[in-house]
């Protein structure tokens, strides 16, 4: 700890605190330059099975967002006329993170060393950097950015353009903060009213070379490592022909590399027909979910070790989608939403004992086609017993995922277990097995309720529930924001995982995989202080 927290860092921190504490809003420098941002101190306490508690994260984040209005009213830099180009701005967002838990907790000293680069301790990144250009009827956004399509909250069907960084807190953070921005060009051509359509436009995106996959940590020393359903360990042994062998796995990167032929592109038409707001979408890209292809012909046993080679792949995908929403003012007083997609190239694991008809390449890997249908309703609702002055915003979704070309040997989450040999537990040896049969039809339902209390609505509780009716796994979140001032936001969050019956992990990362009966229990209490300006 001594080596990492220095007096001048403290001074900078205190100055930053005082500085932000006296800032009300966006900081303007002249009329062209604006800055805003936040400093967030996030503390997460994990309570495995509610029997013990350990601090797993003390993530300190500083984000600075700058906007430069260099072209206004067809005048660039106030100097020359730009003709049809009416406006242009440059937006740059940078983020720095320092997770002090690695310095505070002595137990992590053994887990991470400087040789590891203190993985997860710090991050400094250019989150977004793009230029917006208004050239009516065209608008362009060029640069590193996030693009979100679709109507779904919290699950992905059409929202697949940017991958997610699930490595540090799974998907439990605001997706704005965990989407991985990509270098791309986005252009919108405004059409307006034509034929039966109103407010119509065509949007095109092109990602020339910047492919990224969803980022998942598999290092069990990381607090949010994903090691499947079972022990939070990495398999280091395998049972082969009745023998317990050491396992040595070589992972080969076969992801798409940065070249133009690996570009991704999408097209969307959005309009209003009658009172229905709809869109037709197509995205040609790579799956952000990574597949593992076992190279059986390169695997061999030498002495007491089984050497295996696996390729990490992200197959090409086509995503075809349709979305719609309708504000039913008369009967239900709800906004009804729907989204449906047809996706090819979904990487799937195939059981090691699958017959050759199910796995002709013998690589325990396949790509599948899948459809998704999501229907949802949002309703501001008066529940006067809970709140007399403001409505409660209720939102619910049903998400149905269906494998078009289903294979009964498709497998989901693997399980890491303690190795046993001759009926005895072998210390320090872990094997993996996968008996999680994927269901052809998968469902998840979500519900959220939020409102505001207090004279100025400064106390904002939100309740979230996600439930998988097949595995009976569920996730609950209670979040309470309190605005101490315009600059200071206090946030409390409680995450709970549970399951009704059985031991089916389900496909959604919900339920007891991180709950009461698992060895990997991850109920959490999250307390954050956010200074915003």
């Amino acid at each position: 700890m001594k080596g990492y927290i220095k007096p001048h860092s403290c001074a900078v921190g205190i100055c930053l605190f005082l500085f932000t504490n006296h800032l009300f809003a966006i900081v303007s420098l002249g009329t062209e330059l604006e800055f805003e941002g936040f400093v967030k101190f996030q503390n997460i306490l994990r309570t495995p099975k509610f029997k013990s508690a350990e601090a797993i994260m003390q993530r300190n984040t500083a984000q600075l967002e700058g906007k430069y209005y260099f072209l206004k009213d067809s005048q660039a830099f106030g100097l020359f006329n730009t003709g049809p180009v009416e406006e242009a701005t440059l937006t740059v967002t940078g983020r720095g993170v320092y997770d002090s838990i690695y310095d505070v907790r002595s137990s992590y000293d053994h887990a991470f060393s400087k040789a590891d680069g203190r993985y997860g301790r710090t991050e400094a990144s250019l989150r977004e950097a793009f230029v917006d250009v208004v050239l009516p009827p065209v608008t362009l956004r060029l640069g590193r950015q996030q693009v979100v399509w679709g109507e779904t909250d919290g699950f992905r069907a059409l929202d697949v353009i940017n991958p997610l960084d699930l490595s540090w807190h799974w998907s439990r953070e605001s997706w704005e903060d965990i989407r991985i921005p990509l270098w791309m060009a986005r252009g919108i051509y405004d059409i307006g009213k034509f034929s039966w359509f109103d407010e119509s436009f065509v949007e095109a995106i092109w990602i020339p070379t910047d492919f990224r996959e969803n980022s998942i940590s598999t290092d069990p020393r990381k607090p949010w490592a994903f090691t499947g359903n079972g022990l939070n360990k990495t398999a280091n042994a395998i049972v082969k022909e009745g023998l317990l062998l050491d396992l040595d796995t070589e992972m080969r990167n076969r992801r798409p590399n940065k070249k133009l032929t690996n570009g991704q592109a999408g097209l969307r038409f959005k309009a209003i027909w009658g009172d229905i707001d709809f869109s037709l979408n197509y995205f040609y890209g790579f799956s952000a979910d990574t597949g593992i292809r076992v190279q059986k012909h390169l695997s061999q046993t030498i002495d007491n070790t089984f050497y295996t080679v696996k390729d990490i792949v992200n197959p090409r995908t086509h995503v075809l989608g349709f979305t719609a929403n309708y504000s039913d003012e008369r009967f239900t007083q709800s906004v009804l939403r729907m989204e449906t997609t047809f996706t090819t190239g979904i990487p799937v694991k195939v059981s090691a004992d699958a017959p050759i008809t199910a796995d002709p390449d013998r690589d325990q890997y396949d790509t599948a086609r899948r459809t998704v249908v999501m229907i949802a309703a949002d309703r501001p609702t008066w529940i006067r017993a809970l709140n007399k002055t403001r409505t409660v915003f209720l939102s619910s979704q049903i998400f149905w995922r269906h494998y078009v070309d289903y294979n009964q040997y498709y497998r989901g989450m693997s399980t890491v277990k303690q190795a046993t040999f001759d009926g005895r537990v072998v210390s320090g040896k872990y094997i993996t097995e996968n008996t999680d049969l994927i269901d052809r039809d998968e469902f998840v339902m979500t519900f959220s309720a939020s409102t505001a209390y207090g004279a100025a609505g400064l106390l904002k509780p939100t309740f979230v529930m996600a439930f998988d009716p097949r595995s009976t796994g569920a996730y609950n979140k209670l979040k309470v924001d309190y605005f101490w001032s315009d600059n200071i936001l206090l946030r409390f969050q409680q995450h709970i995982y549970w399951r009704g019956f059985n031991n089916d992990p389900g496909p959604w990362g919900l339920g007891d995989i991180w709950g009461q009966t698992s060895e990997n229990s991850r109920h959490e209490t999250d307390l954050s202080i956010i200074f915003q300006f």
């Binding site: 009300f24 704005e176 405004d190």
Partner: protein
């Protein structure tokens, strides 16, 4: 001993009597009485500064009784100006269609703007109240602006809970015999509003489309930076408080709801004090900093309209709106709690006539500088702000608007007020 008890009983009675009188001052019945039984007042000379000492002789006669508690205070300073004449734009009423009518619920059908639908209000007309409201809803100058705003949410004693900054940009599409954008004849107005601060709301923006057909609900979308996509919003829920502010959507401009969801009574005209042509965005005064202070007021003749929501679960038992009889702008609004018929919410508006910008410039928004001189020549009122008070909390929202008139070209309006503009935002 019994003497002591009698004194105690008397004191308790006095305290109860005092509180019941104080509360009673804000009952619906008291305001109704105040309207129907005018209090005589002394004539006021132009330039007079009214203070607390003028309470019984003038102020109680000209300030609606429900507002006395907030607007009459020690140290108050109301400068009284001559009652002004504020002509509408020269071409106002020249380009109206004439094939419109009121249906049997008082709903205006087929009106397209360009003038007041009802030039004369006859108190004996059973639809007089609705006609006043329609004139207010179609008044000149209500949109076609760029309007940066600052809002202070204050508790008792002036405690500042929140300060919001946002900008509203709106245009009228329906202009009588023509529409701003050809092909959009069904649209009355379009508005885009974007928040600037605090940061948790910065970049949030919404687009709202209102329609000429009063039966049709508005269309709305909200873009939240945290979601990076627009979300459809429901328009028919108008009775929840907005973003911590002490107002509901139906309170906007005194009445922003649906005519057919209320029963209506015209209560005649009444002289009231109004901040109808203020020199500047007024400073906040009173013990809680909830009301305009040290600014210019006029005695104005106002139509008084009483409405009772017909919807069962509406929070209001009734609403009384004072609308300037000459300009049709809302001056005061009082809404009474369905539970006890006492004041729940009220608002009062600060206006400035565009031609006064030629000799008297109000302040700029703290975060943007605009050329207000271009406001001259429009012959309309500009909304410089309002006080919204929730009497039950108690709490208030005071808003300053820094309005610049702006006429969009057809091409610009088409581009700006579009769903395309809502798919991305500040971040």
């Amino acid at each position: 001993m019994s003497g002591v008890l009698k004194i105690l009983f008397f004191l308790v009675l006095c305290v109860f009597t005092h509180f019941s009188w104080a509360n009673d001052e804000q009952s619906y019945d008291r305001l109704y009485d105040w309207i129907t039984n005018p209090i005589p007042f002394e004539p006021i000379e132009t330039g007079t500064h009214l203070g607390l000492e003028d309470r019984s002789s003038i102020l109680e006669a000209l300030i609606p009784q429900s507002a006395w508690k907030y607007y009459i205070f020690d140290g108050m300073d109301m400068e009284i100006a001559a009652t002004g004449v504020y002509p509408a734009p020269p071409d106002w009423g020249q380009h109206m269609n004439d094939d419109y009518h009121l249906d049997d619920r008082g709903v205006l059908v087929n009106f397209k703007g360009g003038g007041f639908p009802f030039r004369d209000i006859d108190g004996a007309d059973p639809f007089a109240a609705q006609k006043v409201i329609w004139n207010m809803l179609w008044r000149p100058g209500q949109v076609d602006y760029v309007m940066p705003m600052t809002t202070w949410l204050r508790g008792e004693g002036g405690r500042l809970d929140r300060k919001l900054e946002f900008t509203s940009i709106a245009s009228s599409y329906s202009r009588g015999d023509h529409c701003l954008v050809e092909g959009y004849e069904e649209v009355k107005t379009k508005r885009v509003m974007e928040f600037r601060s605090p940061r948790d709301m910065a970049g949030a923006k919404d687009m709202s489309i209102s329609y000429v057909d009063h039966e049709r609900e508005n269309s709305g979308w909200m873009y939240m930076p945290s979601q990076r996509k627009p979300r459809r919003t429901l328009a028919s829920e108008r009775t929840s408080e907005l973003m911590g502010m002490d107002m509901i959507r139906e309170d906007i401009n005194g009445f922003g709801g649906k005519v057919y969801e209320n029963s209506w009574t015209y209560l005649g005209t009444k002289s009231v004090l109004a901040t109808i042509n203020v020199p500047d965005n007024p400073e906040a005064g009173g013990p809680h900093l909830w009301v305009p202070h040290k600014t210019r007021w006029e005695v104005r003749k106002a139509h008084v309209v009483l409405m009772h929501p017909t919807v069962d679960n509406h929070p209001y038992s009734s609403r009384i709106v004072f609308i300037d009889a000459d300009t049709n702008w809302t001056l005061w609004m009082f809404a009474f709690d369905r539970e006890d018929n006492y004041l729940l919410r009220m608002n009062q508006h600060y206006l400035k006539y565009s031609e006064s910008y030629a000799y008297e410039m109000p302040q700029q928004a703290p975060y943007i500088k605009q050329d207000f001189s271009e406001n001259v020549g429009h012959h309309v009122f500009l909304h410089l702000g309002e006080s919204d008070i929730n009497a039950k909390k108690p709490h208030a929202t005071v808003t300053h608007c820094y309005v610049k008139k702006r006429e969009f070209t057809e091409a610009r309006a088409k581009q700006f007020y579009s769903l395309r503009n809502m798919v991305s935002g500040r971040r």
